[in-house]
């Protein structure tokens, strides 16, 4: 990440770095306070949530400006504030936070998008009776996500990572009375758990190998050259180095959180949660956490790059990303739920980000993450607006012609859709996706990812056109009347739409500001870059892709409004393919038959063991103790009590014997007296003998 022709490193911890922990802490504290409120305190809860996040945004902007000023004055800022948390003998476990361009950019994005969504939620959840609980969880999530962003220690990151997973579970299952929502929450948690196990293994291994979990620690951190060289030298399995294997393990965790193949199954089901949740968590932030993680440990992933080539870890990341991109895009084509289409779109775009990271580096992947956050949040919130406007209907076949009834929503949604499809030049999505495609084209190890990503782009444009046609064009096929959403919901849409366009500016080849900012070297505006042949070829390719997708989609779906009962055009054309795509390529069913069935069997074995074997042992022990207790009682009764009684009897009869002395007969007494006298006399005489 240190540009060789880049700036000098600035590592002194400034004031804002020391206070960086406030950024996640404030929303968490707000969550705690809201948790103590009673349900009717809606205004207070909303104010606390919005206020805390606004405060965090303010602080994030301060941090960002600090880094920016450092960058403009020619320094690559990477300031850390570490402290020791635990100490075992000589080794310590440290925690800390880091402020560098990557975290600064992410902080601003998360707080800004988060703030907009929280404001949006006050309108969306206005009719819900669990209003306060929602904002409590939302604030907690925001705090946890911000914690992931600022973490300088893999352990702190993991802790906040788990907290993010927990809040995601709570929010997906927000309407827990619905069995499908509860099941979806469970599925999300468990699937990400599978990834997290590997993540934890990676963390432990890293700690064992390098002795530290800090990323940057003035040369002693795990992402710094000394540690990385050690990791490269240490061998692991299959001829790979420890660095590669640890990188892959960490990627497994990221794959779970970011819904990569094969751990993507939870993301579509997570749409059971309220739409703001889908917007925030499953579009902009939580799923991006996986991408952010890979960006954070990029030095590890990149360690030992052969000249002009790519490391094994990054190869795996690229292929998984590319495969996911196409896989999810295919499934998105055949879905009918407005949010599910967007969910699969998210999975697909996450694949793009991962591929971008692998092929082009941190800046490429992160740029797409940032732009995607804005337009995907926009799309989700637009979908929420639509759902709100058509009175909680989510099937696209039952919508139509909404562009007249909900013009603002339509306008912003169209902007988002075009950004996602990568419509040339105007929209930010074009520039970010273009960057990934350019990197893919230049990849030496294989052209496979490039072709996959191109195909995915075509599909993206296609299914988005299909969705927009169904929802906004054609005839209204639903019940009742649709109405536009209130300003509190449409205003954030407008703001996000603005950014969906504007952000493109910082990522063009003419002025690669974003890349320069992240990598720490100067960025010059060179309009000449637009004229380069490479760029023009790519521009042409991308434009072609988009137009093909859009055109094909319009052709098939256009202004036609098939009735809900009618079969889809493609379904009529290729029924088996459509069925497969509609059933999400049977991944869930596959898991059910293999892993879940195995687990069920295993659970039954364990139950049998528990009841028969352990239960039997316990019963045996109980029986033994019962016998012992019986024997003990017998012993006590017969021998102890009996012995005691016998003793008492003897004493009694002895007493009886002695009592005979008191016969009441005078002569007995006299005799005893006489005997006593004799004895006494004898003693006296005997003792006085010389």
């Amino acid at each position: 990440m240190q540009g060789t022709n880049g700036f000098a490193l600035q590592t002194a911890a400034s004031g804002i770095t020391q206070l960086l922990w406030l950024i996640p802490a404030i929303p968490m504290v707000a969550a705690g306070v809201i948790a103590l409120l009673k349900q009717p305190a809606r205004k207070l809860a909303a104010t606390l949530a919005i206020g805390s996040l606004a405060l965090s945004l303010l602080l994030a902007l301060v941090a960002f400006s600090h880094v920016l000023s450092g960058w403009t004055s020619g320094h690559n800022v990477r300031e850390t504030a570490n402290f020791t948390w635990l100490q075992f003998g000589t080794s310590t476990v440290d925690l800390g936070w880091v402020l560098d361009p990557l975290s600064a950019v992410m902080l601003v994005m998360v707080t800004f998008v988060g703030l907009l969504i929280v404001i949006y939620s006050t309108g969306y959840m206005a009719h819900d009776e669990n209003f306060t609980r929602f904002f409590c969880f939302l604030s907690l999530f925001a705090g946890a996500m911000l914690g992931v962003v600022i973490a300088n220690s893999l352990l702190l990151l993991f802790m906040c990572w788990e907290l993010v997973g927990l809040t995601s579970y709570l929010l997906i299952g927000f309407w827990y009375q619905k069995p499908s929502a509860a099941a979806a929450a469970k599925k999300a948690f468990l699937t990400t758990r599978v990834g997290d196990i590997f993540f934890l293994l990676g963390i432990v291994w890293l700690f064992a190998q390098t002795g530290t979990l800090l990323f940057y620690n003035s040369g002693a951190g795990s992402m710094e050259p000394a540690a990385l060289n050690g990791l490269l030298a240490a061998p692991a399995a299959l001829g790979l180095s420890a660095a590669t294997v640890i990188g892959l393990l960490i990627f497994a965790g990221a794959a779970g959180k970011s819904g990569q193949l094969p751990l993507h199954v939870w993301l579509p089901d997570a749409m059971e949660g309220p739409t703001p949740v889908s917007a925030l968590i499953h579009a902009a932030t939580m799923v991006a956490a996986g991408v952010y993680l890979i960006a954070r440990v990029y030095p590890l992933m990149q360690a030992g790059t052969p000249a002009g080539g790519i490391t094994t870890a990054l190869t795996v990341v690229t292929w998984v990303g590319a495969a996911t991109a196409v896989f999810a895009a295919l499934i998105a084509v055949a879905q009918d739920d407005i949010k599910r289409i967007l969910a699969y779109s998210t999975v697909s775009q996450l694949g793009y980000m991962m591929a971008g990271l692998g092929l082009g580096g941190v800046a490429v992947g992160m740029f797409h993450l940032i732009t995607h956050a804005f337009f995907k949040a926009l799309l989700f919130m637009g979908a929420g607006s639509v759902i709100h406007g058509v009175h909680e209907e989510q099937d696209v076949r039952k919508m139509g012609g909404l562009r007249k009834a909900m013009p603002l929503t339509f306008a912003t949604y169209a902007i988002g859709m075009l950004a996602l499809s990568g419509f040339p030049i105007v929209f930010s999505g074009f520039w970010s996706k273009d960057g990934i495609l350019a990197a893919a084209k230049d990849a030496h190890f294989s052209r496979g990812p490039f072709y996959l990503l191109v195909f995915g782009a075509v599909l993206t444009a296609f299914y988005m056109t299909r969705q927009v046609s169904y929802v906004f064009f054609g005839k209204w096929r639903g019940h009742g009347h649709a109405h536009e959403s209130p300003a509190v919901m449409t205003a954030p849409l407008a703001i996000l739409a603005f950014f969906a366009i504007a952000l493109g500016v910082i990522g063009t080849p003419a002025w690669p500001w974003f890349r320069s900012f992240l990598e720490g070297h100067a960025a010059a505006i060179e309009f000449g870059k637009f004229g380069e042949s490479e760029f023009l070829v790519l521009l042409l390719t991308s434009t072609l892709i988009v137009l093909v997708g859009l055109g094909f989609g319009w052709l098939l779906y256009g202004s036609k409004s098939p009735a809900p009962e009618e079969r889809d055009v493609l379904e009529k054309a290729v029924p088996p393919v459509w069925a497969a795509l509609r059933n999400r390529l049977y991944v869930d069913e596959f898991y059910g038959v293999t892993f879940i069935a195995f687990y069920k069997w295993w659970a039954e074995v364990a139950d049998w063991l528990d009841r028969r074997v352990w239960g039997g042992i316990v019963a045996l022990v109980i029986w033994v103790f019962g016998r012992l207790a019986h024997f003990d009682r017998f012993f006590d009764n017969e021998w102890v009590n009996g012995g005691f009684d016998k003793g008492c009897e003897e004493l009694y009869s002895g007493g009886g014997l002695l009592a005979r002395v008191q016969s009441g007969r005078t002569q007995t007494y006299l005799r005893l007296l006489a005997v006593a006298v004799v004895v006494l006399a004898v003693i006296l005489i005997w003792s006085s003998r010389p």
């Binding site: 008191q662 005078t666 006489a674």
Partner: protein
Amino acid sequence: MSPLSCYLLVAALVFAIGLAGALTRRNAILVLIGIELMLNAANLNLIAFWRYGPNPAALTGLMFAVFSIAVAAAEAAVGLGLVISIYRHLRTTDLDEISRMKG
């Protein structure tokens, strides 16, 4: 065998005889008779020692014996009164049967 020793032996003999009578006879009155014999034997002892002792002029032994006689008389009176009283209650003077003090 000095005269004193003879007297002492005689006294011891009478004493033993009296004791034997007190311990073996069933009639309460005969027990009292035995006791009187014992007292008398003791008196004999005292007088013998007075006579053959170092200072007969002090009259110690004699006085002792005289007083002993007086007390014995009083004791005999009371004792016999008691025996008669018991006889009136229990209609018997047989010591083997009188065990009211038992326990």
